[in-house]
Amino acid sequence: MTLLLGALTIGLILSLLAMGVMVSFRIFSVPDITTDGSITLGAAVAATLIVAGVPPSLATLAALAAGFLAGSVTGVIHTKFKIDALLSGILVMTALYSINLRVMGKSNVPLMSSGTLATEAGALGEKLLGSARVNVFGWPVAAADLSVLFGALACAVIGALAVYFFFRTEIGTAMRATGDNPQMVRAMGANVEVYRIFGLATANGLIALSGALLAQYQGFADAQMGIGMVVWGLASVIIGEALTGGTRSLGLTLTGAIFGSVLFRLLVAIALRWGLNPNDLKLITAIFVFAALVLPGLIGKLKRRTT
């Protein structure tokens, strides 16, 4: 049960990562590798500030701002200096590796002895429920774990609502159109470059927020924690799209990203429980995303051949 709760919580926290990847990959059609650096950046900034005594909520907001900044750097390199989007992301990701080490001062910052959003949520939960353990469908569960889960759920829902409403505004609608047809957006008098920069900034802000929450949940920030996270985010987005049937509706796509992230984390937890070597996890994630990208086209081809 604890395992299940943990998987759900991490899935919900990483759904913010999935939403960020959705914004850059699906709305702007940019596979943005800055992700690997900015999720670590979010964790590093939040952990370092918390250890320094800054309230966890402020530290988390600072992490979001740092991710926003990292994304806008990628955006500026891509649009103003005309460097390929993929390469821009690689450049910023590489630079962020050093920056993250600078921010933390070492490769790992433990948060075990500090108050975090997770410990705050846990304490609040124990106070509200009045006991350290509660029964969920007959299973005894730590009240702290349960309230952290609800905290993560609240973060995911608030994040999704913010993204949803933002992309329904005048600016947000124009930004969605930018990924769709930049020529048309220019003809409608909007500055495509500024929208691209802002879109990548928003995406990485979400991703850094996800990193900040993850660090507080797992109790440490680590320089290596971002490796392969963009592929992880893609996997979540792709599962989400499969769940929602490839709809174009923004609300459903976002809901799909949340469910995709949680489901993917659950699948991984189950696989690890069954004895999957954790070292193989990234390989399997990559193969999964590759298959998900290639299979629909392949199946279509086979169908046409047989008819």
């Binding site: 933002f166 329904r168 505004t169 005048e170 600016i171 947000g172 609608t173 124009a174 969605r176 159109a177 769709d180 047809n181 020529q183 048309m184 957006v185 220019r186 003809a187 409608m188 008098g189 909007a190 500055n191 495509v192 174009r248």
Partner: protein
């Protein structure tokens, strides 16, 4: 009467100094009065689409200046010029964002050149307005404004693009062979709609076309381009008397003169070199 659009000595060479050098515009001068509906004609490579893109700001000129509605827009980027200019492209896919709904596409059009904020893109007034105006297209699209625009046919998309380009009255409307990619029936529909909108709103319009028939039927002025220059400029009574055959003759005339030039040059080269 002052001109709405003044083009002075426009020059543009692409890929200068390479084997692919194209001297697309070679000193174009053109004045267009307010409310004039001008047809641009010319053979492939005559520079008509390039001229339209130069006015729209798809690239910057090597030389020359563009004034529109009293503003020098020569150095303005494309999205700034969009404040004054409405455009419909040859490709029906170019003018709309396919994954956005019809309503959302029009929400974009309703803010052309006005700047965008954090207000809702869609509101009741816009939607009511939109249904009423889309109904005038008589395509039954007013009940489908929440559908993705990518699900519509080329003709429907082009009609909607035209409506979007003129949703806020532009100082200048640019139509770049906007019926060339459509089937004949849709093309007729869109042309009819073009005529309706342009004459109702008294829009200053530059339209590129391949069709002599369209050029003769529409508007009050025909400008023929050849090799990046204005070859003929017909208006008033000259334009009204014109038949498609006359236009074809003019083209033959240009071709003949050109061949003659080449042959004369050949002759001179043969006899003197």
């Amino acid at each position: 009467m002052t001109a709405m659009l003044s083009l002075t000595n426009l020059r543009k060479t692409f890929n200068e100094g390479t084997v692919n050098e194209v001297r697309a515009l070679q000193g174009i001068d053109l004045e267009v009065e307010e409310g004039a509906f001008v047809q641009l004609l010319g053979m492939n490579g005559s520079g008509k689409s390039t001229l339209l893109n130069a006015v729209a700001g798809s690239f910057y000129l090597d030389a020359g200046s563009i004034r529109l509605a009293g503003v020098d827009i020569t150095r303005q980027p494309e999205h700034r010029r969009a404040t004054l200019i409405g455009r419909v492209f040859q490709n029906p896919f170019s003018g709309t964002a396919p994954n956005l709904s019809i309503a959302e596409n029009f929400a974009l059009a309703s803010r052309r050149g006005l700047g965008r904020g954090l207000g809702w893109a869609l509101n009741r007034r816009l939607l009511d307005d939109l249904r009423a105006r889309v109904a005038t297209l008589r395509m039954g699209l007013e009940d489908r404004i929440d559908n993705a625009i990518g699900s519509l046919s080329g003709g429907q998309r082009q009609a909607l693009t035209l409506l979007m380009a003129t949703w806020l009255k532009p100082k200048l409307l640019l139509l770049d062979e906007h019926t060339a990619a459509l089937d004949p029936k849709s093309a007729d529909q869109v042309i009819q709609l073009t005529e309706e909108i342009v004459s109702r709103e008294k829009l200053t319009t530059l339209m590129v076309t391949h069709s002599m028939q369209q050029a003769v039927n529409l508007g009050g002025r025909i400008v023929m381009l050849h090799k990046g220059q204005v070859a003929h400029d017909l208006r008033g009574a000259d334009k009204r008397r014109l038949r498609p055959e006359d236009l074809v003759d003019r083209f033959h005339e240009i071709r003949a003169r050109e061949l003659l030039d080449e042959r004369a040059a050949e002759l001179l080269r043969a006899s003197y070199l």
